[in-house]
Amino acid sequence: MSIDLPAGSPPARVAFYNDPKVRSIAYQVALCAVIGFLVYEAASNAIANLERARIASGFGFWHTTAGFDISQTLIAYSAQASTYGRAFWVGLLNTLLVAGIGIVIATILGFVIGIARLSKNWLVAKAASGYVETIRNIPLLLQLLFWYNAVLKALPEMRDSYKIPGGIFLNNRGLFVPEPIFGNGFSFVVIAFGVGIVGSISFYVWARKRQEQTGQQAPVFSVALALVIGLPLAVLALSEFPLTFEYPQGGRFNISGGIEVLPEFAALLFGLSIYTAAFIAEVVRAGILAVSHGQTEAAYSLGLRAPPTLRLIVVPQAMRVIIPPLTSQYLNLTKNSTLAVAIGYPDLVQVFTGTVLNQTGQAVEVVAITMAVYLTISLATSLLMNVYNSRIALVER
């Protein structure tokens, strides 16, 4: 069965066009050429089109006075004095605000529902899975429109506002709560708060160490509560309450003063949190199911009851499975907040890609900036979550 090869003859040569290396290079050169051509073509067309129509270009508009109002501004903004650039920051902060709060609410709700789906209580499990199946299968946009209309319809007119004790008003213009005004000496309270946090952390570290050495547990939670809440309150009382509140006042049309929570904001937050929670619930359920049942049984046999088993054994292990998909859900929530454009909440897309784009007509610049912002948010979040993920990842010997 042996084949006689002439000794010392070179290996059979293939034609150069069949050589994988040559082919690979050829493919890549072709791809680069095509992409380069398309990019060049697109750019030159864009320049020609803009030139011909004499549409302004460049980022000069950034410093032009905006001239339009925005209903929710976290930083000082006025139509007459602020620029388009300022409007951009206002929109970005509004996006971050709704995304940040939404992530917190969606996470809590999602964990509760995900665990509820695995509950032994039949009714609870069915209710949770009904929630997930319904919410996941209806477009977010529809849910937002529904919530917005539901919020507007359910709330009374300004004149018939619900008055909640403590100077809080609720009507179809929003929720109005007293705004704290910090007087002199309030800085001591802030310092006390900081001291409280540092104190709690050191106490936690100490308690942890002691538990590892002696097995004794310390009341970490109550001590931390006393330090973080109690200490600033005590300082507040000692410094004779340098804190006053600006109460909302009923005007002819609207309630003025105080902090205002817009119905658009409420509807968007509500819709985003409820929608994303359904997805997070699925992520959590899958994560918990991925923890082998032996772990739970071992915990039970050690005498742990169900809640500590979940808290100390199952969830920490499940987190490894949960974190990567959870990250993408957070990013989805942030990206979905762009649907604010449908219900009039002034997020980045509504303010910048909407009004600014329209007033300046500079589509290329505005859309490019918007995309860059979301890309940055996405990449930064992925990076952070990857760092966290690598820290909690299973270290195998």
């Binding site: 890549q28 509950s119 039949w122 477009p139 859309v367 890309l375």
Partner: protein, 388 residues
């Protein structure tokens, strides 16, 4: 052995039973409905509280829902007077005549009435394809992909846009709307995203640096930005990038945006499937002398796609829901037609909006739920073959 002694002892002691008796059923409280209740709903104090809370929640929601959708609902009427409490002097639920009257608009948008049969034909062709795909015992299932990816796109394109030469009046896409647009957008996304997604996934795992780099940049860029901005780009910037007279029509631009967006997500799904294929399969394929494309086509992709079917369907569900966003670039999809109709003064009542949203919610719920059941069933079916 002491066995005999033991037997003797048993025989002597009179109160020891020598024959096993029939096992008694468990106590009443542990079986049947009562037992089930105790086991599943009332096992601990915490559980009892939970059960009560959920039951209260149901008692709060369900009757209202039934009352709104069925009992108090209005079923016939010509205009808004039928659905107004002031006129009818009773509590009013959903205003169904509004939905009935507007239904043709919800389905076809402004598609010319004499030409609407073409849309019906398109729907039926699509339905045939879907049944063909789902019915496992159907004849010639091998041709389904040809039907779906070649025959259907071409014939329905001609059918819907029109072709003068064969006597079909051209219908401009501006007139399209409603469920027609929703289905077209979703379906184009589905048909384009799978092949493009596979290409991108292969590109991302390729050994050629330029190809890999391009794929990674494309995938990460598209996945990093919201669909809204992709649509904005497609509708606002795309026309600037092509020569002036070439400016593609509005629907086409949205379709391009959606298809590219879905492809990036599909690429990641397919990549996960590729990663799950053991290296031995690649090596085996190479060892028998298959080239790259043969290896992928015959060995790797069939296995990889099979295990990713549930995830692919999940991506499709997401895509189907995302079609609602095309309203942002001024295209009248199903939800947008509902949104426009609810402002019709002829039907202006307090319940019109809710009725419209209820119709839309049911539509999406039915479609997406059906798709997710399909994904589950496929998952179960494939798992069966693995278990063997």
């Amino acid at each position: 052995m002491t066995m005999s002694e033991g037997d003797l002892a048993v025989a002597k002691i009179h109160f020891v039973r020598s024959a096993t008796i029939e096992a008694k059923p468990p106590p009443v409280s542990m079986r049947g409905a009562v037992g089930w209740l105790r086991e599943n709903l009332l096992s601990t104090k915490f559980n009892i509280i939970l059960t009560l809370l959920i039951a209260l929640l149901f008692a709060w929601i369900v009757p209202d829902l039934v009352r709104f959708l069925l009992i108090d609902a209005v079923w016939t009427g010509a205009d808004r007077d039928a659905c107004r409490e002031i006129v009818q002097n009773r509590a009013i639920g959903a205003c169904w005549p509004f939905a009935f009257e507007r239904w043709p608009y919800f389905v076809y948008g402004s598609y010319p009435i004499p030409e609407r049969w073409r849309v019906d034909v398109f729907f039926s062709m699509l339905a045939i394809g879907v049944v063909w795909l789902l019915w496992l015992g159907a004849p010639r299932r091998g041709l389904v992909s040809v039907y779906f990816f070649v025959v259907l796109p071409i014939s329905s394109f001609i059918l819907l846009t029109g072709w003068k030469a064969i006597g079909l009046q051209p219908v401009d896409t501006v007139l399209w709307g409603g469920i027609l647009v929703t289905i077209v957008v979703a379906w184009v996304g589905i048909v384009v995203s799978l092949p493009l997604g596979i290409l991108l996934a292969l590109g991302r795992r390729s050994h050629m640096p330029a190809v890999r780099l391009f794929s990674v940049i494309f995938i990460e860029f598209v996945r990093g930005v919201p669909l809204v901005t992709v649509l904005f780009m497609a509708s606002v910037m795309l026309p600037l990038f092509v020569p002036e007279h070439l400016s593609p029509d509005k629907l086409l631009r949205a379709l391009i945006g959606i298809a590219l967006f879905a492809s990036a997500y599909m690429a990641e799904v397919v990549r996960a499937g590729l990663q799950a294929i053991p290296k031995g399969q690649f090596e085996g394929a190479m060892a028998v002398g298959l080239g790259y494309s043969q290896m992928m086509r015959l060995i790797v992709l069939p296995q990889a796609l099979k295990i990713t079917i549930p995830n692919i369907v999940n991506t499709y569900i997401g895509l189907f829901k995302d079609t609602t966003l095309v309203f942002i670039v001024g295209i009248f999809d199903f939800l947008h037609t509902v949104e426009v109709s609810r402002i019709d003064p002829k039907w202006a009542t307090p319940v019109t909006s809710t009725t419209g949203y209820a119709v839309a919610a049911m539509f999406y719920l039915v479609f997406c739920y059906a798709m997710s059941r399909y994904a589950r069933a496929t998952e179960a079916r494939l798992a069966k073959s693995e278990r063997r």
